[in-house]
């Protein structure tokens, strides 16, 4: 079963704030572990717009940093799995997710370099 993952970005990192990300990576991953990415530049920085995009693009998993509880609960209610408070490289985050090693609050590899 293929997965669609959205990660709000801050350079090469997972964006520290869901609501302040100006771009996002949308990753389509296959069962065999291969994946391809598309980087989307957001016209407006807003948690609402990002939630809307997540729903319209049929995303099933979100990897993000800090997210306000109301958006977290909303996405959960829409049956979207949210891994929040993730710190570090977004690509390594995707790799760990696909290996079922990612968890909320994970601190991944070298971080903080932009």
């Amino acid at each position: 079963m293929s997965r669609k993952i959205l990660i709000p970005l801050y350079g090469h990192e997972v964006a520290p704030r869901f609501d302040l990300a100006s771009e996002a990576a949308i990753v389509s991953a296959d069962d065999d572990g291969t994946w391809e990415k598309k980087i989307v530049v957001l016209a407006q920085v807003s948690a609402e717009k990002l939630c809307h995009m997540i729903l319209t693009k049929d995303v099933d998993t979100v990897i993000c940093g800090g997210i306000e509880d109301q958006y977290y609960q909303y996405l959960n209610w829409k049956r979207i799995r949210v891994y929040d408070s993730v710190i570090g490289s977004w690509k390594q985050g995707v790799e760990q997710l696909l290996k079922n090693k990612l968890y909320p609050g994970a601190i991944i590899g070298q971080q903080g370099e932009n």
């Binding site: 801050y10 520290p16 306000e68 601190i107 971080q111 903080g112």
Partner: protein, 474 residues
């Protein structure tokens, strides 16, 4: 910090002290960063605020732990230089419990003697506790201590939070006693700089050289008597607001320096060549028509354009309709409580008198009238006889004539006389004679007791003493 090798602070006490012992229990969140902005240490309050333990956060880039808007968009760290003071920003963070918290961050750079950055100290104040009671304290008809319900004032109360919300210079105009100082403070207290200093300087109260030193500071030896370095009001107001009262009195040469400062945010103290970066919001106030002064070359036009970005005009009390009654009730309650009297309201005749008076001294004059009336009132109601006599005799006090905008002051400076006393010397040729007569009458009325006479005149005791000497009153 590593528990096995505690970091020590030496040189302060007889023996070195573990830094953790000092920092850990401080109730403000403190975070120490290295030069690459990675967390080296955070105290218990910082852990509670962010939701991350000190060991988890260690060596992680600060923006991933203190997840604030300010760090991401425009890091305050980038503004810090060896010569600049601490940088303060108000922002919000989202902590690990997914809570958005309003915070004020003060960041201090640590530099070695050659100026190389060693790291940063980051103090984060949680503003959740302070914001709510402030909103609850607002009176029904007013804003931040200003009271009124007239359309003009309601418009001002609607505008003030918007003005406070941005960081532009503000020009406040209005007659004397209309509340320019209070409006400036209200803007400061409702702005992002509220926790920073509010510094006021009256440009008309000091001669040019002193004003320059007061504003910009001076270096030791800059002029005779400059025995030590002095910071100046601009540096004192760093991360806060500087209120320049009576800006029209500022000499033109100083206006040019001020303009330069407003453009590049750098203060050069007198006698010094090294500038200091400051982050100050400037609010200016004046009771005169600055446009007219600019036309007459008494005020720089470019300074006017610079300050006129946001303008707030406070209406005179005589144009505020029902506000006179509202303010009367407010001051009556205030002074009755302060003086331990049980005065509930003014009698209808007294209220009529108050409503028909023109108040050249505006709210300040009304306040002084009520203060006087509460002082002399022996009943539970203010009667016309408790009010200053000039209200009923329809003679304006000297203060009333002095207001209207004039650059050349023939009359006494504003605020030198309260509205609580009637100068009865009709036809007095000069202000000096009128003032002398007022002092004599006050002394007669109070049986020669100077304390009471000073209170009656609305002056300090020393002012009365000085004027008694000046007029050679025996």
């Amino acid at each position: 910090m590593d528990d096995h090798f505690p970091h020590l602070i030496s040189g302060l006490f007889d023996h070195p002290v573990a830094a953790e012992a000092i920092l850990e229990e401080i109730p403000t969140a403190l975070i120490l960063l290295d030069a690459r902005r990675r967390i080296r240490y955070m105290n218990r309050a910082a852990s509670a605020l962010t939701g991350y333990g000190p060991q988890e956060a260690k060596n992680i880039a600060c923006h991933n732990i203190v997840r604030t808007q300010a760090y991401l968009k425009d890091s305050p760290v980038s503004k810090i230089a060896p010569d600049s003071g601490p940088v303060c920003v108000q922002s919000d963070l989202i902590n690990r419990e997914r809570l958005r918290i309003d915070v004020r961050i003060t960041m201090i750079g640590l530099f070695d003697p050659p100026g190389r950055c060693l790291g940063y100290v980051d103090a984060i104040e949680d503003l959740r506790g302070s914001a709510q009671p402030k909103a609850q304290m607002q009176p029904a008809f007013g804003f931040a201590g200003m009271i009124g319900k007239s359309p003009d004032m309601e418009n001002i109360f609607r505008t003030l939070p918007l003005i406070a919300g941005n960081d532009s210079p503000v020009l406040i105009t209005g007659e004397t006693g209309t509340g320019k100082d209070r409006a400036a403070r209200a803007i400061h207290e409702n702005s992002g700089r509220a926790r920073g200093p509010f510094v006021k300087i009256n440009c008309g109260a000091l001669p040019e050289t002193l004003l320059e030193s007061e504003l910009f500071g001076h270096c030791k030896g800059a002029f005779p008597g400059a025995a030590e370095n002095r910071q100046g009001r601009f540096r004192l107001a760093h991360n806060g607001t500087l209120y320049l009262a009576e800006i029209g009195d500022m000499p033109l040469a100083l206006q040019a320096r001020l303009l330069n400062l407003l453009d590049n945010n750098t203060v050069y103290p007198m006698g010094g060549t090294r500038g200091f970066q400051v982050d100050v919001r400037v609010i200016a106030g004046d009771h005169r028509n600055l446009e007219q002064m600019a036309e007459q070359s008494a005020f720089r036009k470019d300074m006017l354009f610079r300050l006129n970005m946001v303008r707030l005009h406070l209406p005179p009390l005589r144009q505020r309709g029902d506000d006179i009654g509202l303010l009367t009730d407010h001051f009556l309650h205030q002074f009755s409580t302060a003086f331990g009297k049980d005065i509930r309201e003014p009698a209808p005749e007294a209220l009529d008198l108050l409503n028909t008076y023109s108040y050249p001294g505006n709210v300040r004059e009304l306040r002084n009238i009520i203060k006087y009336a509460v002082n002399v009132c022996r009943q539970h109601q203010i009667e016309p006889r408790d009010l200053p006599a000039y209200l009923s005799s329809n003679i304006e006090p000297a203060a009333g004539r002095m207001e209207h905008d004039t650059r050349t002051r023939q009359e006494p400076p504003p605020g030198t006389v309260s509205g609580s006393f009637q100068p009865t010397a009709e036809g007095a040729a000069t202000w000096a004679e009128t003032e002398k007569q007022m002092i004599i009458e006050a002394l007669v009325r109070t049986g020669g007791r100077r304390n009471k006479a000073a209170a009656l005149l609305g002056w300090g005791r020393s002012t009365l003493w000085r004027k008694i000497k000046q007029y050679q009153i025996q």
